[in-house]
Amino acid sequence: MDTLIQQVVSGLATGSIYAALALALVMIYQATDVVNFAQGEMAMFATYVAWSLINAGVPYWPAFFATLVIAFAGGLLIQRLVIRPVANAPILTIVIVTIGLLVIFNSLAGWIFTYVQKPFPSPFPKEPVRVGEIVLGTHDLGQIGVTLIVLLCIWLFFRFTPLGLAMRAAAQNPLSSRLVGIRVGWMLALGWALAAMFGAVAGMMVAPVLFLDPNMMGGVQIYAFAAATLGGFTSPVGAVIGGLIVGVVENLVGTYVTFIGTELKFSVALALIIVVLLVKPSGLFGRTTVKRV
């Protein structure tokens, strides 16, 4: 029983990473109907930025927030420079462009920072928390806490600020939004910027566990895809819940179903994605889109 609780908590911790990245994917999908295949690599690159800052002697939390600002600016730039020129092109074109970004970030990170794994500090104390017989990692708990705070900020932003409202409007009905004076292009860019920021949070939270290297986010991204698919690409809440479910299931399956273990990690994600798409393509919480032809 104790093992079960511990596994569920550490599953929630991993799940919160998936949730953050899935949320980033969903934000971009909602605003522009694009699945950003480079989301994970952008997050990995942002984590390298944080690593460089910390290595240059900046204390953790200032480095953390500086990285968020840099990631924000980076996301904005990418949308303006690379995505906007192909915004009206067929889906295939946009998918290929994001794959191009994936490749570029991956190789740039390898080029600048080498492929050697690097340790990344955790801001939380090392001492585990004991509740009776149950031992919980502080990093796990901290990770969940940080994700919850991010979610709260986002919710407040979209619910209570005029800018958040404008962004929602631009995603829902670009034409009408434009007519009431919202600068739709910039709202989309802002969506990319925010998504890059969540990605950065996910990257910095997962790096102490996985160690930092250019391929760090490959596995995380595929699980984030699975999470977003499960929750529904049209639902931010769904993405978060999907992330947590996927994290917990992954951990429990890894512990109790021995023949899968970690060796078939990606196959589990593949199976999950395909099954969800076949059974309920809009995900658990997504809207079913009806196309007019």
Binding site: D33, V34, V35, F37, V82, P85, V86, A89, I91, L92, T93, V95, I96, V97, I99, G100, L101, L102, V103, I104, N106, S107, L108, G110, W111, Y115, G218, I222, F225, A226, T229, E263, L264, K265, F266, S267, A269, L270, I273, I274, L277, L278, P281, V293
Partner: protein, 333 residues
Amino acid sequence: MNNARARQVFLGVAILIACVLPFVLSNFRLFQFTQVYIYAIALLGLNLLTGYNGQISLGHGAFFAIGAYAAAILMDRWGVPYGWTLPIAAAICLLVGFLFGLPALRLEGLYLALATFALALAAPQILKYFEHWTGGSQGLVLTKPKAPFGLALNPDQWLYFLALGVLLLTFWVGGNLLRGRVGRAIVAIRDNPIAAQAMGVNTAVVKSVTFGISAAFTGLAGALSAVVVAFVAPDSFNVFLSITLLIGIVIGGLASLSGAIYGAFFIQFVPNLAQDISKAAPWAIFGVFLIVFMIAMPSGIAGGIGMLWNRLTRRRVSETAAVAPRPGMQPTP
């Protein structure tokens, strides 16, 4: 000289040059050209699906892997002659592709991209998992075949001609497939699925069969590569192989037969040139090329050459027309 005639002449000259190459190039260069032909076959398969039929696959490396492993296991475990492994591997991939294509019918655009991307990531792990068959991470070591019928060719030269032969065969099959009724159905589904269906095209059948044929071509390329390299290992079929294939069809030219050849040359030789700068450089260059091509030249090298050719011939036509105006020789608008 009209376009079709010019194309035939070019093709003839190209095949002639390809037949001379083995006797002038070093074995290492020859091996690289063999690789180019193998890539071209794989790209033809992917282009059929993604370029012509509009189904995005980011996981064709997985079919390449299945073909390669099918051939390798047949040779390694059962001692099947390598010549037979090629059609068998293609048939296996046809079946697997068809089966994967069935659920893919329900997945449109992005979702298919997602599912195939996951497939690409999962492939090496699955290969490692069935260690008994696949030899795990160590892979399988095979023996390089010698030239048959007492031909005076060394193994590299023979394999080169084998790859060239398979290449010509697949392009002949692919070309005929696309020129006919089926080809028009394949393209119609990409351009307007509803109109295609209204015209009586059975979209479900055509799409899943296209998936199968596409996988068969790519799997055939995989089997050929297993024979030529005489070694298979799971990590050479990672997600970057799938991305490499995607890069090949984008740079070469989507929905273009000749594009598969240009793309194959690109993915074989550009990384070699770039490797001198840094280990990571080829991929950075690939990425930049992908984005620049998508923004500036979405029809790839093949489209660029086509445009250039049209411009040149149009000028020539209008010049001759000016000298000696004849009916029926209007410059095309």
